[in-house]
């Protein structure tokens, strides 16, 4: 590669960041120009200084930790219910008969509207927030598990059967591995959802956590605090999604999809 080609290659690497940089610069300049009062739009530098202070103060990690604790507890309980149930619905007629209409009718319902019911049933503490997360993450995971189980090649199941595989062997050696990519896709949808619901639950029910911190800042008319919280939430969410993509590649090393994307 000649010198110009190299330069072009470097340039191409930075192009993706160009418009983000422009966006951030415009934000800073617009806020500093005084077109709107700082309460409406604090300067980027002010917001970043606030984020930095939050990180150094250590409080951020405690608040994020609380939110993640509720999100992850809800996610794991939801997964433990949804994935086995989804596989059973995919495998057994009776389960399919009972749960299929229930799930297909309740799925398109906006489930956030049910959060006030949980507030009556479980109060305003962690139980209520975790229950909200469970309700929301249940659907993408159960639907993915049903779809994954139903899409397993029938010939594979028949062959294994004819070779004398028991229902348990079938589950562990054929169905689970074959349905795994779809199940992981369901989990990839569910994890960010768990974080969002955890934050919305803090908005509605109060209490500490990153959502609570954001709402508290808004009530105190501390708009750099509001924007800083949003930046922190966005960063935490982005890190979460990136690590899920990484975990997917690690878990599915044996699967053709991984070879396709890395080759």
């Amino acid at each position: 590669m000649d010198g110009v080609g190299k330069l072009k290659a470097i340039g191409r690497r930075f192009i993706p960041f160009a418009s983000i940089l422009v966006f951030l610069t415009v934000w800073e300049l617009f806020a500093r120009a005084g077109v709107v009062i700082p309460y409406l739009l604090p300067a980027l530098s002010t917001v970043l200084a606030h984020v930095y202070a939050d990180i150094m103060g250590g409080d951020l990690f405690r608040q994020l930790g609380l939110t993640f604790y509720r999100a992850m507890t809800g996610f794991f309980i939801g997964a433990v219910i949804a994935i086995p149930l989804g596989i059973m619905i995919g495998r057994f007629r009776f389960f399919r008969w009972f749960f299929d209409p229930v799930i297909s009718i309740t799925n398109p319902v906006p489930k956030v509207a049910f959060l006030p019911i949980f507030m009556i049933w479980f109060g305003l503490g962690d139980v209520s927030k975790i229950a909200s997360v469970i309700l929301l993450v249940f659907y993408p995971m159960v639907i993915a598990a049903i779809g994954g189980t139903l899409s397993v090649d029938k010939q594979l199941i028949w062959s294994a059967r004819s070779l004398g595989a028991s229902e348990r062997d079938l589950l562990r050696q054929i169905i689970l591995p074959a349905a795994l990519p779809q199940i992981i896709t369901g989990m990839q949808i569910a994890v960010p959802l768990a974080l969002i619901v955890s934050i919305v639950a803090e908005f509605l029910m109060g209490g500490e956590g990153i959502g609570g911190k954001l709402l508290f800042a808004q009530r105190r008319i501390n708009s750099p605090g509001v924007f800083a919280s949003i930046v922190e939430i966005a960063l935490a969410g982005a890190i979460l999604i990136k690590s899920l993509e990484y975990m997917r590649r690690r878990l599915l090393v044996w699967h053709p999809e991984t070879k396709l994307t890395t080759a």
């Binding site: 906006p110 509207a113 954001l214 949003i230 969410g237």
Partner: protein
Amino acid sequence: MNIGLQRIHTFAVKYFPLVILIAIWELLPALGIVSPDILPSILAIAVALIDLFASGTILEHMRVSLFRAFTGLGLAMVFGITAGVTMAWFMPVRIVLNPLIQMFYPMPKSALIPVVIIWFGIGDASKIVLVFLGCMLPMVVGTFNGARGVDRETIWSARSMGTGDFEMIWRILLPSAMPEILNGARTALALCFALLVSAELLISRHGLGFLIGNYNEIGDNTRMFAVILIFALIGYGADRLYLLLRGRTLAWMG
């Protein structure tokens, strides 16, 4: 058995599980297993519903909520489809917009509720903007992916016959991208109700979300359940309507 009876029979078998669940719901408070304060009986909820409709209370809030949801969604669809298809067809637009979309896509839009309140107050504008922001990204991404997936041969043939940019977008890209645009629209539809109810529950003076929160605060649980049921039915009905329209729109694709 004649076909009509058979249909009814299939329908009954299919939805019998729902009947079982509703019966359990009805029995729990009736048998005193849970207090009717915590789980009002369906009969009581039905009575509350009739009352809410008869007095007209719910209609006004329903109108407000539907107006906010569909204005936000409609704007998101117009802007999202336009942006997506322009990004797919014009490279400079793609270079500018793509990184920004990648940056904002994973961000939880509900976290923006306090900001849109700061910017636009607690009325209609803040809710419409929130729904618009949330629904626009799935529309852009769906349209972009759909339009990028168009057969090269089709584009080349159209080009060789002298098709201009506008016609190319209108007659080739948009129709071919339709299935993915509609997928994006379904995500956006679900998101629009979720965002709207979160915002209305949090800070609002009108709308079904406000009504739910209000009955929750004054402890009128039967009415709260009734309004939640209506909101759930609206969400469900919108999805059914979507499926119907989707079938019609894509009928030509076979």
